[in-house]
Subunit: 178 residues, 2 copies
DNA sequence: TTTTCCATGTAACTCGTTACATGATTTC
DNA sequence: GAAATCATGTAACGAGTTACATGGAAAA
């Protein structure tokens, strides 16, 4: 609750700029797919909740005959809440576990060759994820030597994914020697 | 749904040995706290669901005047489901994102000194997590050169957390030069 | 003219969480 | 005699998912 990631995301985007739900959803889908899985219906519901809690406020706007938009902006208490969530988030390390560990615990239930082939598939996909991230352009300017927040997040993801791939490769070698 | 981690965990533990809910919960709480956050009430509810789906079956046992136990074991379709989930899990890389990235995207909203102090706190906790994992003893025997599944999961977590700490330290240095 | 885009939502469902209930039994 | 252990659960709530509804406007 104190560390709810969706709330942090929505408040953070609205702190940058007043926006309506559709706009937020488009932006998230197009640019933040690597950081969140927030779905459209979920976002609309979340915005309703945030409004009821008084963290955001809406004004209704209309352009020509287009559908009406509910344009949201942060209230004062919304700003306060944003900063609290942000501080919590920054100060905390990855909580508990990595998803991919669970399967590993039972891998002795499969014949070694199949394990190798399955983990090989994992390695292939990991490689693709990494290649994809490497293609993300780096923004220049702001914050020290040209590091926007998004770039930081990308660089962290790259570091973690590369380590994961290295670990996987070593483990596969290890398994192959049996 | 196909990759539901709680189901994989419960089926996997029951594949190893017939057990009742209390037993599963104790084991998870004592030994698997690093890999899952599954709570007791959730586990009991999940076992009910799995039984209704025909993936597990219960027999009621009693010892003396103790509370009755519902001892669960896998059915045939439960075993099949376990293997399917396991294969899916092993073949897939970490899905989408790391939790800790979200905060980073907004860190330009805080003064640099505060960011540094918050990320410093994150680094401290990360260090503690790592030290804790390093104290986990390694099992000998089985699977190649002495690697049970749990050991694999621990070694992967260690690799990822160490990379995270290294990345954090570099980023802190970087931020300090402003 | 059929599809895609704009813009917001609802309904039914599943899953998870916290807090509490129960009642005997071993341990302090 | 009080507290922790054994063992299973319920109730109320919060939040997420998929699938669907609506209805005009722009694009193919």
């Amino acid at each position: 609750m104190t560390t709810d990631p969706n709330t942090l995301l929505l408040l953070g985007l609205l702190k940058g700029q007043r926006q309506h739900g559709y706009q937020l959803n488009e932006f998230i889908e197009r640019n933040l797919g690597r950081f969140t899985t927030l779905k459209k219906a979920t976002a609309y519901a979340a915005l309703d909740r945030l409004e009821k809690k008084g963290l955001i406020e809406a004004t209704t706007e209309q352009e020509g005959n287009r559908p009406a938009r509910r344009v949201y902006g942060l209230t004062e208490s919304g700003e306060a809440q944003f900063f609290e969530l942000l501080r919590d988030h920054l100060a905390q390390p990855e909580p508990v576990a990595f998803y991919g560990d669970l399967g590993l615990m039972f891998l002795n239930q499969l014949p070694t060759e199949e394990t190798i082939s399955l983990l090989g598939e994992r390695a292939t996909q990991l490689g693709a994820q990494i290649a994809d991230l490497e293609r993300v352009p780096i923004h220049e300017g702001a914050l020290g030597r040209g590091l926007f927040g998004v770039d930081l997040a990308v660089s962290r993801q790259l570091a973690l994914l590369r380590t994961d791939l290295t670990w996987l490769t070593q483990t596969l070698n290890h398994l192959g020697q049996s």
